[in-house]
Symmetry: C2
Subunit: 385 residues, 2 copies
C-alpha cells in the first residue's frame, strides 16, 4: 500500500426528504446563491419549487444558470461565472446529475480566478479557492457529489478534460434516492455502467491495496445486484438507494487510496463524448470489455481472475485465463441485461476521427495500468464499432 | 436503508514516515499542546523523541500526560484536564492506541466543560466543544483515531461506558503501519478481534443496507487474510497496513450508516473489562460466538448464512442452520489460530459478579439486534467461562 492522505469533508444527507436540510445549510453558506440546473426535469419533479420555497423561507436569494448540457461546455461555465460576478453570489447550488455538478464546480472556482475558466481545466493547480458548492443529486452516476473532479468539454477544440482540485469538493450534498425514481432506463443503465467503471479503474492498479480492492468489489456487487432491479422497478427504494450511495463511494477517493493510478478507459471514452456527445456511461460499457481483452496478460491475469470469481461467480479453475475471459464475457452480458448496446456504430460513430481521438487518449495513458499506444487505442475503438 | 447523515472530517496521513506531517499540522492547531501517552513504549520506539524534535522545530511547546491505563480511567482524564488548564493548552496530541486516544478525547472535551468530566461520559449531549485532537496511532484496534467515541472507566462505580459526540472526532490522525511492527502477538490478536467485532456489530442490524454490509465483509476479509500474517511476521508491511486501515473503517461510522443499531457484544464485554481490567478484544472474541449462538434463530439465520458463506467459505447448502452454525465454528477456530483463549476463566474471571454485570449489560440491550434479558446475558457469561 502506497502512502496517502485521506480527507473527505463533504457532509452528506442521505434519504427521503433530506432536501429539508437546505433550510439551515443554504443560509450557512450565503445570502445570494447561484442555482445551477440542466433542462426542465427539476421543474417537472417539483424539486425546483421545493428549493425555491426553502430559499425564500431561509432568506436566501437565488439566481439561475439553467440549460447545462449533458456534457457541460466551457461556454456554459463562462456564462455561470459572469452571473456570479454580476450578482455577487456567495455560493453555488447544483441540482442535477454529474454534468450539472461538474459545471457548478468550475463556475465556483472560475468566480475566484481572474483569467478564463478553461485555464482551470488545463491547469488545475491554478485553482486557489472556490465558492462553497452544495449539491442536490438527481442521477446516480458520476459521483461528482462527493469528489473533487469536474469534466468539461471545449467544443472549439473537441477536448473533454477532467480537472481536479480539493477546492472543488462539495461542502454539502443531498442524496435522496426518490429523486432518481424518474430517471429513465437508458440513463439508469448508463449511470450503473459509469459507477462500475469507476470501481474497476481503481481496482486495476499497479500496487496492492486489499481493503480498497474489497471496497471496490462491494460497489460492483451492489451494481450487479441492484442495477437491473432499478431498471425494472424504477421506484424500488433499496435498489435506488444502494446505487446512489455506491455512485458516491466509487469515486470519492476511498477506492484509489494507496494504489492511485492514471485511469485507462475514461480517457479513451472521453474522446468519444467530446466528439460525438456520446453518453459517457454507455461509451464506457462498450469500451471496457475490449480494453480488458487488450490488457489481459500473464502479468495481469490474477486480478482478472479475482474479479471473475468474486463478482461474476465464475467457478474457480486452474486455467486462469479461461476464468478471466469468462469474467469478461459475463461483464458484457451484464451490460446487455441493462439494455446497453455493444456497438459504437449504434450511436452514429465511425472511423472518421479514430486517429485523432486515439492520439489524444494514448497521450494520457503513459502511466496507466498498461500503457497503450495510439495504434492499440485505435484497435479498441475498432473492436467496439 | 434508513436516512442518515455522513460527515467524517478527520484528515488521515497514512504510511511510512507520515509523522513528518506534524511539522505543519501541530502549529496549525496551537502553540501549547498536551502530549498524551501510556507507558514507555513510545520512548523505546523513538516516536517520543521524534515528536519532541518536530514540536521544537515547529515552535510548539509540549506538556505531558503520561501513564494512561489500558482501560483509561476518569481519574486520569481529570489529571489531564487539570494539566490543560494549568498550562493553557491549545490542542491535544495523543500518541498510542485506543486507550490513549479515548482518554485524550475526554480530556479535550473536559477542558471546555465547567463540571466534572464524568458528566460528559454519562451525558454526552453536554459536550459543546473540545480542544482540537490530533493522534498518532500505534495499535490497530479501537478505531478511535477516526471516530467520535471514547470509552472511559470509573473505578469507583465499576462502570466502563462509551460516550460519543462529534466534537470528539480527531482533526488529524497519523497512521504509520511500521509503528505497529512492535505490537506483540497478544495485543495484535486482540486488536484484530476488536476490529472484527466492530464490523460484525454493525453487520447484524435490523434494517438492510447492502453496500454497508459489503464494506463490513471487506473488513472481515482483510482481518481473516492478514490477521495471522501480522502475528507470524510482525514486520509484514502489507498485513499491518491493511489491518490498520481496516481498524479505522470498522468504526468511522461508514458501516453503520442507514442501519444504525445499538451494539450487542460490546456492552456485554465492557462489564468484564470494567471489573477485571480484561483486554477488550480478547473479551469480545470469547463472548461473540456464544452471543451468536443465542441470537441465531429463524429470523436471523439468513444473515448468519451470508456471513458463513462469504467470510468463512462454508459451502452453500439448503440447511441454512447447519451453514450458519459452521460459520460460527470457523469464527471460533479463527480466534484460536490467533492464539486467543476461549475461556474467561483463563483471565481469573468467575461467576462472582455475573449478576451485577449482566444487569448493567442487559439494560443497554433493549434496542439491540436481539434484546437480551439479564438471565440470557448470565448464560452467555457462563458459556464463556
Amino acid at each position: 500500500m502506497d502512502n496517502f492522505e485521506f480527507y473527505i469533508p463533504t457532509r452528506v444527507y442521505f434519504g427521503r426528504g433530506q432536501i429539508e436540510q437546505l433550510k439551515h445549510e443554504l443560509p450557512a453558506y450565503g445570502k445570494r446563491v447561484l442555482l445551477v440546473y440542466g433542462g426542465g426535469s427539476i421543474k417537472r419533479s417539483g424539486i425546483y419549487d421545493t428549493v425555491g420555497a426553502i430559499a425564500k423561507e431561509a432568506g436566501v436569494e437565488l439566481f439561475e444558470l439553467s440549460g447545462v448540457e449533458s456534457n457541460p461546455t466551457i461556454k456554459t461555465v463562462r456564462r455561470g461565472v459572469a452571473l456570479c460576478r454580476e450578482h455577487g453570489v456567495d455560493a453555488v447550488l447544483a441540482i442535477g446529475g454529474g454534468s450539472v455538478i461538474d459545471c457548478s464546480k468550475v463556475v465556483a472556482a472560475g468566480n475566484c480566478y481572474d483569467g478564463d475558466p478553461w485555464d482551470l481545466v488545463i491547469h488545475p493547480e491554478r485553482m486557489e479557492k472556490a465558492l462553497p458548492i452544495l449539491t442536490v443529486l438527481t442521477i446516480a452516476a458520476t459521483g461528482s457529489e462527493m469528489d473533487h473532479i469536474a469534466v468539461i468539454t471545449n467544443e472549439e477544440t473537441n477536448d473533454k478534460l477532467g480537472t481536479r482540485n480539493p477546492v472543488l469538493r462539495p461542502k454539502v450534498s443531498i442524496l435522496d434516492p426518490t429523486y432518481t425514481f424518474t430517471v429513465n432506463a437508458f440513463q439508469t443503465a448508463s449511470g450503473v455502467a459509469d459507477i462500475m467503471s469507476h470501481a474497476m479503474e481503481s481496482y486495476f492498479a499497479k500496487s496492492e491495496a486489499k481493503l480498497q480492492d474489497y471496497f471496490a468489489e462491494s460497489i460492483l456487487r451492489v451494481c450487479v445486484e441492484f442495477g437491473k432491479k432499478a431498471l425494472d422497478t424504477p421506484d424500488d427504494y433499496e435498489a435506488r438507494a444502494n446505487i446512489m450511495w455506491a455512485s458516491s463511494w466509487a469515486i470519492n477517493d476511498t477506492l484509489k487510496l494507496g494504489h492511485m493510478i492514471q485511469w485507462s478507459v475514461h480517457p479513451i471514452e472521453h474522446q468519444l463524448s467530446a466528439v460525438y456527445n456520446m453518453t459517457h456511461g454507455v461509451g464506457l460499457a462498450i469500451l471496457t470489455p475490449h480494453w480488458m481483452e487488450h490488457v489481459l496478460s500473464e502479468e495481469t491475469v490474477d486480478k482478472f481472475y479475482e474479479l471473475a470469481v468474486t463478482i461474476w461467480k465464475v467457478p474457480e479453475s486452474e486455467d486462469k485465463f479461461a476464468v478471466a475471459k469468462e469474467g469478461i464475457e459475463r461483464l458484457k452480458k451484464f451490460y446487455r441485461t441493462l439494455g446497453i448496446s455493444e456497438h459504437l456504430a449504434d450511436f452514429g460513430i465511425d472511423e472518421t476521427y479514430f486517429e485523432a481521438m486515439a492520439g489524444k487518449a494514448a497521450a494520457q495513458l503513459a502511466t496507466a495500468y498498461k500503457p497503450l499506444t495510439k495504434e492499440e487505442v485505435i484497435e479498441i475503438y475498432r473492436e467496439s464499432l
